[in-house]
Amino acid sequence: MKIKSQDAPHIRHQERTISLMTDVIITLLLLYVMAFYYYGVRVILLGALSVATCLAADVLCLLLRRSRPRLRDLSAVVTGLLLPLLMPASVPYLVVATAALFGIVVAKHPFGGVGHNVFNPAAAGICFAVICFGADVFFAYPPTQEKLPAFGAIESTIVNSPAFTLQLGGVPQLDLSDMALGNFVGPMGATNILVIFACLLFLVFRKTIRWEMPVAFFVTAALFAFLFPRADMPRTLSVCYELMSGMLFFGGVFLLGDPVTSPKRGWSKVAYGVVAGIVVMLFRRYGNLEEEFVFAILIMNATVWGFDMLGERLARLVRGKQFESVHGTKIHKKA
């Protein structure tokens, strides 16, 4: 009889990491459908190119690291699907490929691969693309409802996005219901506010991302926008515009909520969300680019370790109190 030995426990939860990844992929595909409705077939090609580049780079890096490449490892697919959604639909294919390559080769694999990356690969790729190709390529948004050609030069009128208007200190004249439905110019995936909200509810319900951090982040950002509106407009309107414009809502769900690059404990997540909200709004206000969200995300990713260690210290205090209350003695420490 063949008996294999294994450590306890001998029964496992049925949930798998691959199911977490598939949850995110399902929500992203939903966003692709919306973007396809607004911008046509070019969106699909961008996504396919980005995913292909990410997978190729992933396999290459794994081969260089002398470890077995796993095509069913879906983290590269998630990165690849995230990247084009943060770009305008008229972006050249080269930009997408560059961002994907940078994200995987620089931000992911040198740091140890899946689960060990300090910085979010998608955010790093977007940052590099913005710096490389400049705001005039990156923040040139085509008008919605305009079917873009799949190939060749794109000669479509460039429309100012509400984020740009806000950065210039103006007030975007937009209908809020249109904004909620995603019918305004912006990154091709990040404008469908209601759909993203549904995705957020789905992911939180599936416990793929925990509720503390998005709630803390959005509440802080909204409070900041309420207290310090960038232009002279009603404060509630300022809150709506700030939350809906640009990448903030999308990134708050998919980039900030990425479990790899976020603190682990509940209160660490809350503190992280609050600080992230403040930093993002400060970047928006004082940054020179139209959309500073991804840069703020990179900076916040660097602070995750500190938040976690502070959370551990706090948990240790609580544990000590618990131990005393239960056993009546302190936890004995070696001098």
Binding site: V106, F111, V118, F119, I131, A135, F283, F295, I299, G306
Partner: protein, 197 residues
């Protein structure tokens, strides 16, 4: 009043946006990249800030004297070196004479932090940007504070990277440089356009 406003704005700029380490790659070598403890980083940063602020008084005067003259570039560097060297000698002797305990602490950090590219870089920027007195002092102060923060960030980054399976070719300096590079990418995004240099 707006002089002090300029002072603080310049200092904040030097701390965050034009951070000496992250934005200009100044003042880094193995000694400061591989700190033993965060205390050491704070010591180095404090010594650099002290020397910088003291010598920035002299440097500001030199800037005022050299304003608009021809052939600045031939005498500016020696004059800056003389200013810093004077402060260095004074600090060395005073600490050696009156505060021997303190002197033993700062002795290893003194030369490294005095003749440091971060410090001189701050002086050159204040000279080319034709900052006035308070701005020069504020920029140097901000550079020192930003340098300290950068050293602490690098220290904790090493702590973080120690528990991830970094590929063997990247262990140590390369992965640390990548980390700093990505952070500097983020800070550069905040700046958004070219650096004044």
């Amino acid at each position: 009043m707006e002089l002090f406003a300029q002072f603080f704005v310049t200092a904040l700029t030097a701390v965050a946006v034009e951070n000496a380490v992250f934005a200009r790659a100044l003042g880094i070598n193995k000694t400061v990249l591989f700190m033993k403890s965060p205390k050491m980083g704070i010591l180095y940063g404090a010594v650099l800030t002290w020397m910088g602020v003291l010598s920035s008084f002299l440097v500001a005067i030199v800037n005022v004297l050299l304003e608009g003259r021809t052939g600045i570039m031939y005498i500016r560097a020696p004059l800056f070196s003389i200013c810093v060297a004077a402060v260095y000698i004074v600090t060395y002797l005073v600490a050696h004479k009156w505060k021997p305990k303190l002197f033993q602490i700062i002795k290893p950090a003194l030369p490294v932090c005095t003749f440091n590219t971060a410090l001189f870089g701050a002086f050159y920027i204040s000279s080319t940007g034709s900052y006035h007195f308070l701005q020069t002092v504020g920029y140097t102060l901000g550079t020192g504070v930003g340098y300290t923060l950068a050293l602490l960030v690098i220290y904790f980054a090493r702590k973080r990277l120690a528990i991830s399976p970094v590929p063997r070719s990247f262990r140590g300096l390369p992965i640390l440089l990548l980390y700093i590079g990505l952070l500097s990418l983020a800070i550069y995004g905040l700046l958004g356009h070219g650096l004044p240099s």
